[in-house]
Amino acid sequence: MAKEYEMVIGLEVHVELATKTKIFCGCKTTFGMKPNTLTCPVCSGMPGSLPVLNKKVLEYAIMVGLATNCDITRYSKFDRKNYFYPDNPQNYQISQLYEPICRNGFVNIKSDAGEKKIGIHEIHMEEDAGKLVHDSWGETSFVDYNRSGVPLIEIVSEPDMRSADDVINYLEKLRLIIQYLGVSDCKLNEGSMRADVNVSVMEKGSKTFGTRTEMKNLNSFKAIRRAIENERERQIDLIESGEEIVQETRKWDDEKGKSYPMRSKEDAKDYRYFPEPDLMPIVIDDEWLDKLKEKEPEFKDEKVKRYISEFKLPEYDADIITEDKKMADFFEEAISLGGEPKKISNYLLGEVKRLLNENNTEFDKINLNPLNLVKLIKIQEEGKINSTIAKEVFEKMYYEDVEPLEYIKEHSLMMESNEDELKDIVQKVIDENEKSVEDYRNGKEKALGFLVGQTMKVTKGKANPGMINKLLKELLSDGK
């Protein structure tokens, strides 16, 4: 009988913090600028320059620690991690080894067996490196230090995950917490959230973990899932064929669906960590911690509960809206502006989701204004426009942020509610569609729909469908 195996997975997650300036200097952190335009002597490693800690970074790191149930280290320190690489201008990275800012936390995730606790070993602060740009036709490499010194936190989990699902759920949980805190946008595809996955395999029920490997270069949830499944198979194959698993770092190639060894434990670097003498130890007092605790926002789970009880939203709606902090903010703002919760929700889950998917974009990238949505819904409720027009106006609002009433007036989209005018049009439609009239009179209800459609066509969609129905029925019965 084939043996059953179980995976043991631990994660190292790097999150880029959304501070305005870098961790140790005043340079801006804006993404996508011209190379080396966001640099200074400090973040380009000039001789004699010195780091000064950006207090916002510390604040953000502590906020993440508090939200993930960590102990906050009251006397924390920075250390130097020494290694030579051109993207690292000092050839050491300022990080935390001996006294990381947060320790011993956990988050709860969903799993098949109900809620599951994933331990967080530590969270530490560090600086990001620059970026190398290789000249593909020459022999030159260029280095861009714009990213050098952008603040990162590294969240190190305990080896508490047992499946790719666990990993995805854990990452989703972290993403939501961090997004709700507003300290990072946590985008895997843009690199503001990066995960290295440590995987080992053991026989089911065993108490000793197998030899682990570390997988790098995982840029999407899909890649993470594939890489984990692939590594599981690779390790099981090795075990079954009696070979040894080498403790090593591997690089995932998502196109080829394979991983390759990067470096093994034998040639692991000696980083010669030691306490960073240029920075003073960080002492955190109760008062500041209390202030940060007070600032803690309402997280997703709490919001879902509140949306159900306060706004009578179905759980399904509440769950989807709160998947994205920005969408939840929009929803709440729309309600505070007088919007009706379920109607707002319908738009978000319907039209908004549709357009987001169509354009393959995210909620924080669009210009939709909650006040305009509230107005549009009101105009529609008042019967001034029908749903077809509403959809058209909504798209304009989504793409161009137009004011709905102005747009409707400007384009004369107001519904035709003048009964006399509409009566003439309906009569004309009846006259021109003898066949359908006859069908209707012979009991074919469907024919009425056709006549409504024809009337709509003539009025260019502006007529009130209820009124058309009423008039058609009146006129058709008159002629009997």
């Binding site: 000039m46 030579f84 010669r272 030691f274 003498p277």
Partner: protein, 481 residues
């Protein structure tokens, strides 16, 4: 007219302000003297910049004789070449930075310029401040102006030599393990290592970050203290800089030291100390007694451990601080190499001198896994114990008196062949860096070769007042003798 150069900085400032002399004429004399002396005390001279600044100041003076004048108005200051000067080559006396021109000033440079000081050049030194004789410089050894056969001391040998040779009126040095105090002692001038975190290190090319302090070297206590007052300021660009401490040093230029309690560690006057040094220190003790001080013997049992602890910590920090010199961004890059790793190797092999390589290797070793606890961590513990030992002494004493060096000034070429012996001669200076306390070095006599002997005075953290008073009174008493 060249006796102008024998004047103190504060006397020169007065003559300039009273328009008895033109700043330009003083500069002429200085640059002439530098060439005449030929002591190799400078790596770079800033003649153009200095004359330009002189013209500016002179014009300001003519236009508005009663206008505001900085504390260093018109005074020529020399800067150790490991302190970054905007637009002026800064090499740290290393081949690896032979062409490095910073785009920024060290904070101390801005402070000197704000007080109308004139930077006349960048002084020679031991490469990256690693050495005790200013012989490890890529630009050759510095000569002692009192006798050219002797070293000027190190690592701020160029600054001490320039001051002693009347090539400038004051100078900046840096002190990681005695690098201001020891050359000041060997050249017969005054040098101050301020309390750690009182002078900004921003722009100082780091050697041992937890030990480095910039400080003044001058021909007399008053000039040294005035320069210290200019450069000492809280700097938000240096996280280790301390705010809210007394920095009005010049108000302690008084000779009232009656009842000052002075401790003399018996370990510092043992038989291993050169007899001439011992003799001169004993004479100094008598002077202090005559001035009304209470001088008592005391003990520093950990004296044998200070040099090993110091070299472990300083080398560890240096091995990391010097990693940035890799040929990628600035400075030397080797000509022929194959790939990145080879470029690193060749650049650093060609760019660093022997002593620097020795300390990088030593530092890398004590930080490597498996040795960290046994060496680096142990050295940190020893450092703490040494701190405690001094803390205890300062409960009893206002000032600790000590020789600068156990030896008299060596001749050029005598020291480098035996690095361990050279390291051991730092035994009386490194404690101030390990503990962070301030120290001043002032001349207290001459040895059998007619070379000066230096004395050191230490005080508790941020108690520069005590050593300034003591040094000022001692200097004044000496003039009267």
């Amino acid at each position: 007219m060249s006796d102008i150069l024998d004047l103190s900085a504060y006397e020169i400032r007065k003559k300039i302000i009273d328009r008895e002399i033109l700043i330009k004429d003083v500069l002429d004399l200085l640059f002439e003297r530098i060439k005449e002396n030929d002591n190799n005390s400078f790596i770079t001279l800033c003649e153009d910049e200095a004359y330009k600044k002189a013209e500016e100041l002179q014009k300001r003076l003519e236009d508005d004789p009663d206008g505001k004048k900085g504390k260093l108005f018109g005074i020529a200051v020399a800067i150790k070449d490991n302190i970054c000067t905007k637009g002026i080559k800064t090499t740290a006396a290393s081949k690896i930075l032979y062409n490095f021109v910073p785009e920024y000033n060290a904070t101390v440079i801005d402070l000197i310029e704000k007080e109308d000081g004139i930077i006349i050049g960048k002084t020679n030194m031991d490469e990256f401040a690693m050495g005790s004789t200013s012989e490890t410089s890529y630009y050759g050894a510095v000569k002692n102006p009192l006798n050219n056969e002797y070293v000027s001391g190190g690592s701020s040998g160029g600054s001490a030599s320039a001051v002693a040779g009347h090539e400038c009126f004051m100078a900046l040095g840096s002190d990681t393990g005695g690098s201001i105090r020891q050359p000041a002692g060997f050249c017969g001038v005054v040098g101050i290592k301020p309390t750690y975190s009182s002078v900004s290190r921003y722009g100082l090319i780091a050697y041992g970050s937890s030990l480095d302090q910039i400080g003044p070297i001058a021909g007399n206590v008053t000039d040294a203290v005035n320069l210290l007052e200019v450069i000492s300021a809280y700097d938000p660009k240096d996280s280790t800089s301390k705010n809210g401490v007394d920095r009005e040093y010049s108000k302690y230029l008084t000779d009232d030291i009656k009842d000052l309690k002075i401790g003399v560690p018996k370990e510092y006057l043992s038989d291993s100390v050169d007899a001439d040094v011992r003799e001169n220190i004993k004479n100094a003790i008598e002077v202090f007694k005559k001035l009304g001080c209470e001088v008592k013997e005391c003990g520093l049992a950990l004296t044998d451990y200070v040099v090993p602890a110091y070299y472990t910590i300083a080398s560890a920090e240096a091995s990391s601080n010097l990693e940035r010199f890799d040929g990628v961004k600035y400075g030397l890059r080797a000509d022929d190499y194959e790939g990145l790793h080879d470029m690193y190797k060749k650049t650093r092999k060609e760019g660093f001198g022997t002593e620097v390589k020795r300390r990088i290797m030593l530092g890398s070793f004590v930080l490597s896994s498996g040795y960290y606890d046994a060496y680096y961590l142990k050295a940190l513990r020893v450092r703490n114990l040494i701190k405690q030992e001094f803390d205890k002494l300062f409960k009893e004493f206002d000032v600790i008196l000590s020789p600068v060096s156990p030896e008299t000034t060596p001749k050029i070429g005598e020291s480098l062949s035996d690095p361990i012996k050279m390291y051991l001669s730092d035994v009386y200076t490194v404690s101030a860096n390990l503990t962070g306390m301030p120290g001043i070095s002032i001349p207290c006599g001459i040895d059998r070769n007619n070379m000066p002997v230096g004395m050191q005075l230490f005080a508790d953290h941020f108690r520069e007042d005590n050593i300034i008073k003591a040094a000022y009174a001692f200097e004044k008493a000496g003039k009267g003798m």
